[in-house]
C-alpha cells in the first residue's frame, strides 16, 4: 500500500514543532522517520497506543517531532525505559529508536539483554558508523581503518555487525535495510511491529557530514548511491562466499523465529503465584 507523504505529514508530525527538523541536509534520519510513519499508518494504530522512545544522539531527536507518546531518555538506556513501559502496560506498541553508538556502545548491554529477554518491542537502529551529534567520533560500527575525530590515523578496531549481533543475542526478528531502500525500511518496520517478540531493524544510514567527509565518501547522494550498489538481498547473499560478500550490505530479513514472549510468560507466573498461596 502506498502511503502518501501528505497523509503521514498531516497525521503524525507535531504541528507545534518547528520544521525543518534539526538534522543536516540529506540525513538518513528523516528518511527513516518517514518510513516509520508509513509503517504505523499501514498498521492503523491509534497514536495514543504508540510509545516512541529514543536515547541520545541525532536519532534521539526523532520523537520530539512525532505526535505519539514520546520518551527522549538517557544515552543508551532507551531500551530499559521501554522495558518498564511495556511490562507495566503490555497493550502499548513500544518502538525504540537508537543510533549505533547509542544501541551498541553505551547501550550494548541493554541491547543484547533486551534481545535475550524477548519482550514484544521493536528496536530500530539507525547505523551511520559514527557519533554525529558530538562531532564525528568513532563508534562500535566504524569500519577498520576509517577515520574519525578520535581515529585520526585510521581506526584500529573491528566493527560490530548490529543485525548479526541481534541474531546471536536471540532476537525474534532481525532485519536490515539501507536508507536508499526506503520502501523496504517501512515494510521491515511493519513486519517488526507485527512480530510477537523482540524485533530489530537495522538501517544503514549516511552521515556524510561527519563520516563521509572524513573518509572521502562524498555527499548524501554519493553515499546513498553506494548503499544501492553494495546492497544484496538475503537470498542472493546466501549463494555467495564470505569473500564475495566483503563490502556488501545484506538487506532483508535475517531472522524470524517464534520464541516465548516475556509478558505472556509473566502472566503465567502470576497465575502460578496466585495458585501457590502465600510464601513464607
Amino acid at each position: 500500500m502506498t502511503v502518501p507523504a501528505q497523509a503521514i505529514r498531516h497525521e503524525y508530525l507535531r504541528h507545534n514543532k518547528k520544521f525543518p527538523h534539526v538534522w543536516c541536509p540529506g540525513c538518513g534520519n528523516g528518511i527513516v522517520m518517514a518510513a516509520l510513519l508509513r509503517a504505523i499508518y499501514r498498521l492503523e494504530l491509534s497514536k495514543d497506543e504508540v510509545v516512541l522512545a529514543s536515547g541520545i544522539g541525532c536519532s534521539g531527536r526523532m520523537p520530539t517531532y512525532l505526535d505519539f507518546n514520546t520518551l527522549h531518555t538517557t544515552h543508551g538506556r532507551a531500551l530499559t525505559f521501554a522495558t518498564g513501559v511495556k511490562l507495566a502496560n503490555p497493550a502499548l506498541n513500544v518502538v525504540v529508536i537508537m543510533g549505533d553508538g547509542d544501541a551498541t556502545a553505551i547501550g550494548g548491554n541493554h541491547f543484547i539483554h533486551a534481545a535475550r529477554r524477548n519482550l514484544n518491542l521493536t528496536a530500530i537502529i539507525i547505523n551511520n558508523s559514527i557519533y554525529g551529534m558530538t562531532g564525528g567520533q568513532y563508534s562500535p560500527t566504524t569500519p577498520f581503518g576509517a577515520r574519525s575525530t578520535t581515529s585520526v590515523y585510521g581506526h584500529i578496531e573491528q566493527a560490530f555487525s548490529i543485525a548479526e549481533l541481534a541474531v546471536t543475542a536471540g532476537a525474534a526478528f532481525v532485519a536490515r535495510s539501507t536508507v536508499y531502500h526506503a520502501d523496504l525500511i517501512d515494510q521491515l518496520i511493519e513486519q517488526a511491529m507485527r512480530k510477537q517478540g523482540f524485533a530489530v531493524v537495522e538501517v544503514i544510514s549516511n552521515c556524510h557530514v561527519q563520516y563521509g567527509r572524513r573518509n572521502q565518501l562524498g555527499d548524501a547522494v554519493e553515499m546513498l548511491t553506494r548503499f544501492r550498489d553494495q546492497a544484496i538481498t538475503v537470498s542472493k547473499a546466501a549463494k555467495l562466499s564470505a569473500e564475495e560478500l566483503a563490502g556488501r550490505i545484506t538487506i532483508g530479513v535475517l531472522a524470524d523465529r517464534d520464541l516465548p514472549i516475556s509478558t505472556e510468560e509473566y502472566d503465567k507466573v502470576r497465575q502460578r503465584a496466585s495458585e501457590e498461596g502465600m510464601l513464607r
Binding site: A5, G26, G28, R38, H181, V234
Partner: protein
C-alpha cells in the same frame, strides 16, 4: 513483501510504455515545501526520469511535470517531508483550468 520482490525505483511497476493510449497515461504533480527543503539534492539525483532540476538556491524545480512517472522515490527519500507527489486529476470540463 520481502527484499527480493522489492521494486527498484528505476524499474517502475507500470512503465508508461505499457499503456496503450497516451490520454490514459497517468500524470503526476510534484509539490515542494521550500521552507522545509534543505537542498540536499537527493530528489534530483535519484529521479529516474530526471524530472527535478535545481533552482538557483539548489532547491528542487520541476521542469517537465508530464515526464514524472509517479514512482515517488523523491517523496519517500526526502528526509525533510518536503515533497508531495500526487496523481493529477483529469480535467472534467474543457474550460477547466
Amino acid at each position: 513483501m520481502t527484499a527480493d520482490s522489492h521494486p527498484s525505483p528505476v524499474e517502475p511497476q507500470q512503465p508508461d510504455s505499457n499503456l496503450s493510449k497516451a490520454n490514459r497515461k497517468k500524470r503526476y504533480d510534484i509539490a515542494f515545501y521550500h521552507d522545509w527543503c534543505k537542498a540536499c539534492g537527493l530528489c534530483m539525483a535519484f529521479c529516474p526520469r530526471q524530472v527535478i532540476q535545481a533552482d538557483e538556491h539548489g532547491k528542487p524545480l520541476v521542469t517537465e511535470p508530464d515526464a514524472c512517472i509517479g514512482c515517488r522515490f523523491c517523496e519517500t527519500h526526502c528526509p525533510d517531508f518536503a515533497i508531495t507527489v500526487s496523481e493529477r486529476q483529469p480535467r472534467r470540463r474543457k474550460d477547466d483550468v
